[in-house]
Each structure stands twice: as structure tokens, then as C-alpha cells.
């Protein structure tokens, strides 16, 4: 095709072909998020042919019949209900300047959870929902929330709740920085760390459905769709930040600070490869 465009100018043709060859060589070794997501999805659907695709968002409950029943019963009186009520209240409560969260978000913050995280080209970085909430507070002269639980868990619970059923729709804009962030997140996901030498993938790719002690490990695909979660093990609600930092400590690694680059990037990666799966948060886990 290039040849026909460039016509008979032989020098140019050669230049174009050379460029084309180099370009392909680079492409073979560069990131292809679309292919990644396809392979990711195939890996889990092949591994668990009986699990309905949308059910992957239910984590351990999708892996085990008995647990699934228990969970269905529990959902009648969900343990996250208190957080949900609190989140609704905080969401509507005006800041000191009279504005509310609704003023910071598209569609007044309702039904938008599935679009986070996104790559913010102005800030040049991945913006998660948790980060966006604190940026909203700070830009309105309010104190930011602590990232791991309490108010942050409550507000994200409410925002997820208004987005239930909407499929993850994470976009990677044509910006090399966005691709680099995605790649960095993928690297973080597969890198072993801590004295126990585990990566995120050790548990959630290699061993989903298996028991770690009495607990059933969740598959990586759809794992963030249920966030934030009430965890019996935590005795309360926890955000995505809490999930990442506590995973790090469990493998005997010192956690990074919530919302550090690595955490936002891994959330970007993990959400992107779960595209198409519906938001189910807030969730409850053992």
C-alpha cells in the first residue's frame, strides 16, 4: 500500500520499507493491551469453563458452589450496607464552599465507576476513583480522606453501587505515557516481591479457586469490579488501596504509599484486562 502511495520514487520506497521493518520489530516487543486483554480473558474462561463470564466479578464465590450459596444468603443482609448509607450521605453533603462531589465528576458522579481509572493527559498520570475523590476534596478546600477505609470506602461504595451492572470501560489513549503506565502496571502485577517471593499473579493467576488456608483465592479477572469490599478478615470495609497494601504485607513486603505510581498503574492494568465485566461493588468477602 505504501508503495502505491509513494509511486515510483525508489529511494522513498526503500526508506518506507526500512521504516516499516523497524516499526514491526519494535511492535513485536512493545505493549499490545488489546491482545493482552484477549489472552487474559481466554486464560480464565479456559481455566474455569463452567463459570459464567459475568460471575468472575464475584471472586471466590464464583469458584465454589457451597460458598456461592452462603454468599447469596449473606447478600440479603449485606455487611457493606452501613458503609453504603454513609457514602450516600457524604456524597450529598455540601462542602464548606457549598459545592458537592457531584460538581467534580461527569454525570454528577452517578454511574461512572466503570470509567476509572483513566489516563489523565493533563496530569500525565493514571487517575483512580480514590485519587479523584481526594483531588475533589482538596480542590474544594476540604481535608482529603485516608485512602484505605472509612469515608473513602463509603464514598467509593456508593459510587460503585450507582454503577452496578455497567461493564468496565477502561481506555488507553494514544499517548506513550498512558501505554508506559499500563506496561508498568503489568510489570508490577507479575513481579515477585517480599520475603515470601509472591507476585499478584502467584495467587490470582496461578492459584485462583485454590485454598490458602481456609480461604478461596479469587481470580484476577474481575477482582476490582467488586471494590470496595467488606472483609470479615478485616472486620470492616476496605478500598482498593487497602487491598494492595495488605497484599504486600502478607507476602512480607513493605507496602508503598497508597496511590503511589505502581498502585495506580497496576489498578489501570488490572481494570483494563477486566474490560467488559460489570461493576458489582460494593462487595463482601470472607
Amino acid at each position: 500500500m505504501m508503495r502505491s502511495v509513494l509511486g515510483s520514487a525508489l529511494g522513498l520506497v526503500i526508506a518506507a520499507l526500512t521504516f516499516g521493518a523497524v516499526h514491526t520489530a519494535v511492535a513485536a516487543d512493545t505493549t499490545n493491551p488489546e491482545a493482552d486483554a484477549k489472552a487474559f480473558r481466554k486464560f480464565f474462561t479456559d481455566k474455569f469453563p463452567k463459570v459464567k463470564f459475568d460471575d468472575f466479578v464475584n471472586g471466590p464465590y464464583s469458584m465454589d458452589e457451597g460458598l456461592y450459596q452462603q454468599w447469596k444468603e449473606k447478600e440479603e443482609f449485606p455487611p457493606y450496607e452501613f458503609a453504603l448509607d454513609m457514602g450516600k450521605e457524604l456524597f450529598a453533603k455540601p462542602f464548606k464552599n457549598g459545592k458537592t462531589f457531584a460538581d467534580c465528576f461527569p454525570n454528577k458522579g452517578i454511574g461512572i465507576r466503570q470509567n476509572y481509572p483513566y489516563f489523565d493527559e493533563k496530569q500525565g498520570k493514571v487517575v483512580t476513583l480514590e485519587l479523584a475523590i481526594n483531588q475533589c476534596l482538596e480542590s474544594n478546600g476540604e481535608k482529603p480522606y485516608s485512602y484505605t477505609k472509612d469515608e473513602m470506602a463509603a464514598v467509593t461504595a456508593y459510587m460503585a453501587f450507582t454503577s452496578r451492572g455497567k461493564p468496565f470501560d477502561i481506555k488507553i489513549p494514544n499517548d506513550p505515557r498512558a501505554l508506559a503506565a499500563y506496561e508498568n502496571g503489568k510489570k508490577y502485577f507479575y513481579t515477585r516481591r517480599g520475603q515470601l517471593n509472591f507476585s499478584c499473579a502467584s495467587c490470582h493467576v496461578q492459584s485462583p479457586g485454590e485454598r490458602i488456608r481456609a480461604e478461596v483465592l479469587a481470580p484476577a479477572i474481575g477482582i476490582l469490579n467488586a471494590m470496595p469490599i467488606y472483609r470479615s478478615e478485616w472486620g470492616g470495609m476496605g478500598t482498593i488501596s487497602r487491598r494492595f497494601t495488605s497484599c504486600n504485607s502478607q507476602v512480607r513486603g513493605v507496602p508503598l504509599n497508597p496511590q503511589d505510581d505502581e498502585y495506580r498503574d497496576v489498578e489501570y492494568y488490572l481494570s483494563y484486562v477486566s474490560n467488559g465485566l460489570p461493576i458489582s461493588g460494593p462487595g463482601a468477602r470472607p
Binding site: 520475603q195 515470601l196 517471593n197 509472591f198 502467584s202 495467587c203 496461578q206 492459584s207 485454590e210 485454598r211 490458602i212 488456608r213 481456609a214 483465592l217
Partner: protein, 133 residues
């Protein structure tokens, strides 16, 4: 460790014929008593290894492996049964516990030796215990 020290000392002292003969006899006697005490040692070491294997801050084997004497075991790794027939070579077990990633880069098994989760002595005790399963 102890055996190595004794046997290494023998040839150096064996210059005079009498002494050499006496040395050999002595070594044999020592060796016999050492093997007996080594067996007893392995037994107490296996008991020590069992403690380490079940200790959550040490071996914590139950998190991933079913094994005799433990409840609420994980299922990430294979059940630990008939270890002696599966791994007749003790050194293979030592190698697996020390750093299984050397043999299988994809393993989930933590490298207990490389990452100093257990000392060499603790690994040896755990292996003594594993051989009783």
C-alpha cells in the same frame, strides 16, 4: 557437620602404623556411636521440624499443603504424603525447600533458604519431619 570434623581429623593422625590402626578402630567405634546418636538426633530433629512446619511465622506449610496433623489446610501445593517414597533422596527435599524456583521458575513455593525464611538447620529439621510423612 560433626561427622565431617571427625573423619577429616583421622588421616592427619594416621602417620604411625599403630596409631593408624588404633585410629581406624577408634573411628569405627565413633562412627557406630555417631550413627546411633544420629538416628536419635534425626528423631528429635523431626520433632523440631514438625514444630517449624506448623509455625505460621516459620514454615507455615499448612497454608498451601495438606498434611497429617493439620486442619484447615490450603490446596495450592500438593498434599504432603508418602514423602519418603516420592523423594527417596533427602538432598532433593532440601533443594525443594531451599529454592524450588531453581528447578521450576514458575513455582509458587517460597524459597525458604534463599530468602532466609528458615535457616539451613531449620530446613534440615523440616526435611527430617517431611520424611516421616
Amino acid at each position: 557437620m560433626t561427622i565431617a570434623r571427625f573423619t577429616a581429623a583421622t588421616p592427619r593422625t594416621g602417620r604411625i602404623a599403630d596409631a593408624r590402626r588404633a585410629g581406624i578402630v577408634m573411628t569405627l567405634v565413633l562412627f557406630a556411636s555417631l550413627t546411633a546418636s544420629h538416628a536419635a538426633q534425626a528423631q528429635s530433629s523431626a520433632a523440631e521440624g514438625e514444630k517449624i512446619a506448623f509455625d505460621r511465622s516459620k514454615g507455615n506449610c499448612l497454608t498451601c499443603h495438606e498434611m497429617k496433623g493439620g486442619t484447615l489446610a490450603g490446596s495450592i501445593g500438593p498434599a504432603l504424603t508418602d514423602i519418603k517414597s516420592k523423594y527417596p533422596d533427602r538432598n532433593e527435599l532440601i533443594a525443594i525447600v531451599t529454592d524450588e524456583t531453581k528447578r521450576n521458575p514458575q513455582t509458587v513455593m517460597p524459597p525458604f533458604g534463599r530468602n532466609h525464611i528458615l535457616t539451613e538447620k531449620e530446613i534440615s529439621a523440616v526435611v527430617d519431619f517431611l520424611q516421616t510423612l
